[in-house]
Structure formats: structure tokens, C-alpha cells
């Protein structure tokens, strides 16, 4: 890759430039800051959209009373039950049970506290999900 070929496709991206190694006119490698590449944006966009769609589905399921808010907040933090359980110091099978709304609603405050700390939300937030999908962005 030549210096001129280093992608500068996303001029107004979130101010993060990455360093790329590219050849200068003398054929020596130098570091060039790149603002981003369209190709990369396509695949990353796909992954981000997939996560967002999954999260939205879960949010609706919570509002419909099929899943507990805990499940929503876990997915919002891109965790899985194992990571969440590990962070909160609770057995994975118990965490999975807590995804049922009826079991979740009976949890002691001390357990909720641990989940809230693990997910970096307040215990009040943990009991609810946003009413509309935009609220979370």
C-alpha cells in the first residue's frame, strides 16, 4: 500500500484516526493516519446493525413480559450470561433463571445491587427498559 492509497473515506468520523503502515515515494515504510475505509465501514456496520436489531427485539420481548429487563441490559453491554454471571459473582445457571420476568421480580435487593454494579447501571434502571428504541443511543 502506498501513502496515497491509505484510505481517507470517512472525513467526519468520530475523530479517531488509525495508524497504517504505507510506502512513501522512496519505497520506505512510514506511518500514515487514516480516517477510515469504506470497506471496513460496511462490515462493521453490519455487525453493529445486527447487535442493535437483537437488542431491539429483546426490548420488545421485555415489554411484552417474555423476558426480564436483566436480559436487555446484559445485551446492551454486549455480554453473554457467562460473562454477566462472572462479573456479578453469581452462578451462570442462576443468572439464566433470572431472565424469566416472574423470577426476576422476586429478586432480593442485594442481588439486584450486584447485577447493577456489574452492568454499570443504577438498580432502578435495571428494573426497566427504555420505552422507545431511540432513548438508548
Amino acid at each position: 500500500m502506498k501513502v496515497k492509497e491509505v484510505p481517507q473515506d470517512i472525513p467526519y468520523s468520530e475523530s479517531v484516526k488509525r495508524a497504517c503502515y504505507a510506502l512513501n515515494d522512496q519505497g520506505k515504510y512510514v506511518i500514515v493516519a487514516s480516517t477510515g475505509w469504506n470497506t471496513e465501514d460496511v462490515v462493521n456496520g453490519l455487525a453493529v446493525a445486527e447487535l442493535a436489531a437483537q437488542l431491539e427485539e429483546t426490548r420488545k420481548a421485555v415489554l411484552a413480559g417474555l423476558k426480564s429487563p436483566l436480559c436487555y441490559h446484559m445485551e446492551r453491554r454486549q455480554m453473554n450470561p457467562k460473562i454477566l454471571a462472572g462479573t456479578a459473582g453469581i452462578a451462570t445457571f442462576r443468572t439464566k433463571r433470572h431472565f424469566h420476568p416472574e423470577i426476576f421480580s422476586k429478586l432480593k435487593p442485594s442481588i439486584l445491587e450486584r447485577y447493577a454494579k456489574a452492568l454499570a447501571v443504577t438498580p432502578e434502571e435495571l428494573k426497566t427498559v427504555p420505552k422507545s428504541s431511540e432513548e438508548d443511543k
Binding site: A19, C20, Y21, A22, I31, E40, V43, V48, Q78, A120
Partner: protein, 344 residues
């Protein structure tokens, strides 16, 4: 590049690096007064690699890696350059933070392994649960720390709470507060011997691991899978998998093509060090291979976006990968021969 000072008032120059682990290691070496470049550390630490693990899943998709396991570049380069490092892990987060503060107060900058999701200064689209991001802590500030993140252009601030979460995140490869800093660094290291060792090790990893999933064999395996994936999994699932391969290649820690270019930069430096035209030629070949990896990414993105479907097929993407496999195999074989002729 920008200048900062550490807790003892000593200047620290932040360099924008292409990869977090090599960047952090380089920063620690430079801080002690050993001028060494990032590609040099990458080469000496034998960072280049390939692996595709269909049964290890991250966010439900198979893992593809273009470099060696996290942490090995640092260890290998330290060993080969004759540096002694203090490394620590902690069971207790409180103790881990106290120890960090204590070391920072002595004026020593510290390398940390963290979870990238909890580092709030990283833009949202790059944040995901990955426990292998390396950063350098310069000094403590009011309710936070001054951080030199090698992949960012300039040093940033990080809140104490975020840093603690990032250091003690759970999950695969959990860092357990891993921190490292040099105790002693050899200021006249034998670069030639270190380079030769690094190159030989890299050749071995790329050519000689007798498993389907690693090195050149791994690239071929993934290429074959990609060619068949369209019919086998259906278009949507195949796209997901392909997107993930490209994402791992370009997004996650500069990835495949980026690592190939960095290795080419290393070979260029090594060529100067040994005065060897053969190494210089191999550097050019490596650059060409990096270009093919990029072309693969472009074709993949077109497949996903469904542009020119007659031309951009899974067979074409897999074919490009197959070319990479062939050329990398030849390159590492040649490299192995060249290195064995060179004297330290």
C-alpha cells in the same frame, strides 16, 4: 506524536501505533531509553500468524486471527532483547488499583491489559467485549488516569471507575488486572540475533504447525470454507461469516492486511540491519501479499452489499485467499532459507 510528562516529571512522547500490544511494548522500551520501532518489536516478538478456529466462537461467530495470541509479542520481544519485566495479576481489584498507583508514583509508566468495551474514550462502534487491549498509564489525575492508548493519535483521560472495570472484566482471556513494566532493560541489545530468532519462530508458526487451523494451512482451510459457504449456509449466514472474517482482518487490532504491512516494514528494517538485498525483496513480496488481503476485503464488502453479483462471488473471495496462502507459503519458505544463511 505528542509530548506528555509522567508522575516524576520525566517527558513521555506518545507515538501513534498501528497495533496496541506492539505499541505499548515499544513505548515501555522507549521510555527506558532504547530506541526501537514498532515493526521491529512486531518482528522480534514473532507477531505474524494466522489461525481460524471454527469451534471457538466470539459473539456466535468463529474466531479468525491474524496474529499470535495476545501477550506473546510482549513476552517474546522482552526475552529476545534481554529485558526484565515485572508482571502482576490480581485477585482483588482494590489491591490491583493500589499497586498501580504505587508504581505510577515512583515515576514508572505502566502497561495494562484491559477490556476494550469499558474504555469509554473509545468510540462506540469500536467497543465490544474483548479482553486484550493494551494501554499505557502515564500518571494519575483527579478522579482518573492519564492514558496513552497506542492506537489513538493523542493521550486521553480515563475515569478510575472505567479503568477498574476494564482491568477486571470477566470473560474469555480475562486480564485479571494484568500490569507490566520494565525492571531492567538492556540498552545495547543484540538486534541481529533477536531478529533471526524472531523470524525463525514466525516461519515455524506459519509453516510447521501440523494442524489444519493454523498458519498457511489455516488460510487454505478458511479459503475452501469460504468458497463453499454460499451454497452450504445460505447467502445471509455466509455473509455474516464473511463479514466477520473481514472485520477481524481490518477492524480488530489492525488485522490481517495491517499486520502484513507491518511485517513488511520489519523486513525492510531487518534488510538494512543485515545489509541483505534478499530480505528487501521479501519485504516487497510481503507488501504485495498485504495488497491481496485488502483486495479480498474489498470483494467481500461488495458481496455483502450485493454489487455485481455475477463478478463478486464467494468463489472469487476464497480464490484471493487461496492466492494469499500460496504466496505466504513461498515467502516464509524463502525467508526461512535466507535467515539460515545470515549470521548474527
Amino acid at each position: 506524536m505528542s509530548s506528555e510528562i509522567n508522575a516524576a516529571g520525566k517527558p513521555f512522547i506518545h507515538h501513534h501505533s498501528a497495533h496496541c500490544e506492539t505499541g505499548a511494548t515499544t513505548a515501555l522500551f522507549r521510555d527506558k531509553g532504547l530506541e526501537v520501532s514498532e515493526p521491529m518489536i512486531f518482528g522480534i516478538g514473532s507477531g505474524i500468524f494466522f489461525g481460524h478456529l471454527p469451534f471457538v466462537k466470539l459473539v456466535g461467530l468463529p474466531v479468525t486471527t491474524y496474529r499470535y495470541l495476545a501477550g506473546t509479542i510482549f513476552r517474546k520481544s522482552a526475552r529476545r532483547l534481554g529485558g526484565k519485566f515485572v508482571t502482576q495479576r490480581f485477585h482483588n481489584a482494590q489491591k490491583g488499583m493500589e499497586e498501580l498507583r504505587r508504581v505510577l508514583k515512583t515515576g514508572q509508566i505502566v502497561g495494562l491489559t484491559t477490556n476494550i468495551y469499558w474504555l469509554s474514550y473509545i468510540p462506540n462502534r469500536y467497543r465490544f467485549q474483548f479482553n486484550g487491549h493494551n494501554i499505557i498509564i502515564l500518571h494519575e489525575i483527579e478522579n482518573g488516569f492519564r492514558v496513552s492508548d497506542p492506537v489513538l493519535e493523542n493521550p486521553v483521560d480515563c475515569l478510575t471507575g472505567d479503568l477498574e472495570r476494564a482491568r477486571f472484566a470477566k470473560g474469555p482471556l480475562q486480564p485479571r488486572g494484568f500490569m507490566y513494566y520494565p525492571k531492567y532493560i538492556n540498552l545495547q541489545p543484540d538486534f541481529r540475533t533477536a531478529c533471526l530468532e524472531g523470524i525463525k519462530d514466525a516461519c515455524k508458526a506459519m509453516l510447521e504447525i501440523p494442524l489444519l487451523f493454523f498458519g498457511v494451512r489455516g488460510i487454505r482451510y478458511l479459503a475452501k470454507r469460504t468458497i463453499k459457504s454460499g451454497e452450504k449456509m445460505g447467502f445471509i449466514e455466509a455473509c455474516r461469516q464473511l463479514a466477520n472474517i473481514v472485520r477481524m482482518q481490518e477492524e480488530v487490532g489492525t488485522g490481517g492486511a495491517g499486520f502484513r504491512y507491518m511485517y513488511a516494514a520489519f523486513l525492510e528494517e531487518a534488510a538494512e540491519l543485515f545489509g541483505s538485498s534478499e530480505l528487501a525483496d521479501l519485504s516487497k513480496e510481503m507488501t504485495a501479499i498485504g495488497d491481496i488481503w485488502r483486495e479480498f476485503a474489498v470483494v467481500s464488502a461488495r458481496i455483502i452489499k450485493q454489487r455485481d453479483q455475477s463478478e463478486n462471488t464467494f468463489a472469487k473471495a476464497g480464490g484471493l485467499m487461496m492466492i494469499c496462502a500460496g504466496r505466504e507459503e513461498q515467502l516464509f519458505k524463502d525467508l526461512n532459507d535466507v535467515v539460515r544463511k545470515l549470521k548474527a
